[in-house]
Each structure stands twice: as structure tokens, then as C-alpha cells.
């Protein structure tokens, strides 16, 4: 038993704290999406969270009572060690990896073999049912690569969810997208639709909804810069990390930062009340 003595489990069961422990694997990305929270792009500083730190956080997270691991960035699969790492973490807890899904063409998908039949799900971003609507925000060719990747992943026994970010698509467009997602083999429950957060690059683009401590559900998020309130929190604007949702610079042991997070929970809405997921 850790020294938090069940507090994390209680907070999760009470709906005050998200069950998933998030790990920011890196900040660089092969894309440069217009609404990116972290201003990720190929040439930005990588700011990798070391594999050993990710493993240590996951081990302690499981002991504390978290129910899952989320890995995000940046594009996690730009890290060569990510498939093996995700597979290893899935022995502790179910793993969800947020990815743009564009790095799996041709034989490159073989890199994901360690994930076959593991409790690892890839959450792939897809915003519209046509490249005309999808690609201006995410980059040329994005739609085609994602639509090609999803069935291939499912065929290999790798779980897929789809995440759609809203920035003006109407209901007809979203219905068409839902049909496409179903056609690709993804269940409706595995299609997440959420608003654009007005943080990071989205602010410069004039996009998104207010996403502060009042709006974002509490989800412990570990980065190389510290422990944050939410995976929507460690954002970058003008090349500088936002610290308004920073909880602690201490991430090891995880319990030290989590204790400070628990101390803040009474100030926030419950997870069910929040729209960002």
C-alpha cells in the first residue's frame, strides 16, 4: 500500500479524478496541425519523457489505483521504442496511445507488431469524412493515410478508437463521418468527439473553447516538465510552455505530485461535467 492510502482510487470512484494516467512521450510531430495544443511540428524540441520514467510512473500509477495509461504527445510513434514500451506498459494497465495514424503505411506497420493482441488501443485523429474538410487543419494527404491505416490496424489485432476535434463541422458532416468510422470497423463507442481547446496553436488561429481548470476534468498528466492537471494542460504558445495548469515539477515519486493534485480537486467540476475528453 502506498502512502496515499487509497485516496486516488476513492477520487476516481467519486468522479473527481480521471482513471487514466497520462504520459507525454515527446513533443515533436511529423504534422503541424492548425489547432495543435502543443505547437508540435517536426523541428520543435523533442522533450522526450525517458522510457525509464514512463515505466516508473506506470508501475507507481498502478499501485496508486489508476485504471489505465494514456500516451500522448507530439506524435508518440516518432519514438522507435514506443511500440515495445506501450506493449510493456500494457502488462500493468490498459494503454491508450494518441496518434495521428500517418506513420503506418506499407511495411512500416510491421513496427507495431509488439502491440498485436495486447491491451493497447490507438486513438487516431480524424476530423471529417472528406479530405476537403479534414486536411486543411491536419495537412495534405492526412485523410487518405488515416483511412488506409485503420482497417490494417484492426486486421492485425490492434485496437482503434477515433477522435474528432470540432472546429466548425456541422451535424451532417459529423453524421457522414460517423458512418465512415463505422464502415472502417470502429464501434460507435470508440468514436470520441470533442471541442477544440483554446490553447496552444488554436489560440493563434482564433479557434476553440475556453479550457482552464474549470472546464477540464482532472487527469494526472506527466511530462518531462512536470505534472499537469490534464492532457490538455501542458500546452505551448509562442514556443513557451504554459504553466497555468502546472501542478508540480516533481514527478518521481508520482505520489508526491499526485498528492498536490488531490489537494486541488475540490475546486474543479466532476469529470462527468466536463466536455473535453
Amino acid at each position: 500500500m502506498n502512502d496515499l492510502d487509497g485516496s486516488v482510487r476513492e477520487a476516481i470512484e467519486g468522479g473527481l479524478l480521471g482513471e487514466r494516467l497520462w504520459l507525454y512521450s515527446n513533443y515533436h510531430c511529423n504534422l503541424a496541425c492548425a489547432y495543435c495544443l502543443t505547437e508540435s511540428a517536426p523541428a520543435v524540441p523533442r522533450r522526450r519523457l525517458p522510457a525509464e520514467a514512463m515505466k516508473a510512473a506506470a508501475v507507481e500509477g498502478e499501485e496508486l489505483g489508476f485504471g489505465g495509461i494514456g500516451i500522448t504527445g507530439g506524435e508518440p510513434f516518432l519514438r522507435r521504442d514506443l511500440p515495445g514500451l506501450a506493449a510493456e506498459l500494457s502488462e500493468l494497465l490498459p494503454v491508450l496511445v494518441l496518434t495521428n495514424g500517418t506513420l503506418f503505411a506499407g511495411h512500416r506497420i510491421d513496427r507495431l507488431d509488439p502491440l498485436r493482441d495486447r491491451d493497447v488501443t490507438l486513438q487516431i485523429s480524424l476530423d471529417a469524412a472528406t479530405p476537403i474538410v479534414n486536411d486543411p487543419m491536419r495537412g495534405p494527404g492526412n485523410f487518405e493515410r488515416v483511412v488506409a491505416a485503420i482497417p490494417r490496424l484492426l486486421e492485425r489485432g490492434i485496437g482503434v478508437r477515433v477522435a474528432t476535434t470540432i472546429y466548425g463541422q456541422d451535424e451532417d458532416e459529423l453524421d457522414t463521418l460517423r458512418d465512415l468510422v463505422g464502415y472502417l470497423g470502429v464501434r460507435p463507442d470508440d468514436h470520441v468527439v470533442r471541442p477544440t481547446a483554446a490553447r496552444g496553436r488554436a489560440v493563434q488561429a482564433g479557434l476553440g473553447e475556453q479550457a482552464g481548470v474549470e472546464e477540464l476534468p482532472a487527469e494526472v498528466t506527466v511530462t518531462v516538465d512536470g505534472l499537469f492537471w490534464s492532457p490538455f494542460a501542458p500546452t505551448v504558445r509562442g514556443g513557451r510552455l504554459d504553466t497555468d495548469l502546472l501542478v508540480s515539477r516533481q514527478t518521481a515519486p508520482l505520489s508526491a505530485g499526485v498528492r498536490k493534485m488531490l489537494g486541488l480537486l475540490g475546486r474543479a467540476p466532476t469529470a462527468e461535467a466536463a466536455r473535453f475528453k
Binding site: T243, V247, S248, R249, Q250, K260, L264
Partner: protein, 190 residues
């Protein structure tokens, strides 16, 4: 003895980031006053919220009046800052020392790089000498000076004053490295 750097005014850029209210980390947001801006030393420390969160109650404890009054505490704060040549802390605490009741002549003497003995009297005079020796000799104080200090202060008060001198030295180091600009209210009152 010159100050480490020219006295910063409110327009000089800091060498380490100042964390403004809108970027204040969640755990230290309450340390930003609601009725005015936070001090620039607070904004500097907020870059490490865990450090600031632990320091704030400690500093409040060592700087608040106890059996020792505020004027006595400000003698230590101002004198230690002067010996450490802190370009941010000296002007800031010249004002605080005056508000605590020290005379303009005493404040000027304490803020001077030179030993201030002639401008001070009694306990404050001995305490200033104690600060000079404590900081200059890295914590070494000779028996004679300690005995003289005991003539004015209880042993527990000497513990408290010495901890205060150490705490202020720590802040002097932070301000020396970060070089925060003077706070606007300090500039306005000087």
C-alpha cells in the same frame, strides 16, 4: 563594494522568467494577491511552484514579528541584503524598513555597503555587526560578538534571527541570478 549589477528598474528584463498571474501554476495561484500584482521575486519563484509553495509559509514565519518586532527583523533583512549586494532586495526593503519604523538615517546606513555602526544604536547596532560577520564569514561568528548579541537578545531569538539571515541570503541569491526588475510600487515610492 559595488552592487552585483546596476539597480534594476521596472523596465529592465529579468534573466529568468517572471510568471504572470495568468500563467501562475495551480498550487501557488493563491499566493498571487487579489488586490495587486505579485512581487517579482514571487513571480520568479513561481517557475518552481513546489519550491514557492514550501517557501511561502516558511518565509512568512521567519519574517513576521514574534518576540522580535518588525523593525528588528528588517535590520536583518536589509543588512544581509546589503552585504550580499542584492540589487532587488535592498531598495525593496529600504521601504519596508521605513514602514517598520526605522529612521531614514538608520535605513540609509543599513543599505550602505559600508559597516553601518555609527548610525545605529543599542541592539540594532550589535545585530547589524552580527549580520556583517555572519554573511561575510559564511556563518562563523566569534565568541565575543555572540556574547555581545546575547546582551540584547534571548537565545531563541538568536536562532530566529540567524535563520532569517540565512533565508534572506537564499532570496538574495535567487534575485542575484534572476535579476528581477524592481516592483512598480518600489519604483514609485523611492
Amino acid at each position: 563594494m559595488a552592487l552585483l549589477n546596476d539597480r534594476p528598474d521596472a523596465l529592465v528584463a529579468a534573466r529568468l522568467p517572471l510568471v504572470d498571474r495568468e500563467q501562475a501554476p495551480l498550487t501557488v495561484r493563491d499566493l498571487y494577491p487579489s488586490d495587486r500584482d505579485a512581487s517579482n521575486i514571487t513571480k520568479t519563484l513561481a517557475g518552481s511552484p513546489d519550491t514557492l509553495g514550501a517557501l511561502a509559509p516558511f518565509l512568512a514565519q521567519v519574517m513576521n514579528p514574534t518576540t522580535l518586532d518588525l523593525a528588528t527583523k528588517e535590520v536583518v533583512v536589509l543588512r544581509v541584503s546589503a552585504v550580499n549586494r542584492c540589487a532587488y532586495c535592498v531598495p525593496t526593503h529600504e521601504l519596508a524598513a521605513r514602514r517598520a519604523g526605522l529612521s531614514p538615517r538608520a535605513v540609509a546606513a543599513l543599505a550602505s555597503p559600508q559597516p553601518p555602526a555609527a548610525a545605529l544604536e543599542g541592539a540594532h547596532r550589535v545585530l547589524a555587526r552580527y549580520c556583517d560577520q555572519l554573511v561575510a564569514d559564511a556563518g562563523s561568528v566569534d565568541d565575543a560578538l555572540l556574547a555581545e548579541l546575547r546582551g540584547h537578545f534571548e537565545d531563541h531569538e538568536i536562532v530566529e534571527l540567524t535563520v532569517l539571515a540565512g533565508a534572506i541570503t537564499m532570496l538574495n541569491y535567487v534575485a542575484g541570478v534572476a535579476a528581477p526588475p524592481l516592483d512598480p510600487w518600489t519604483v514609485a515610492e523611492r
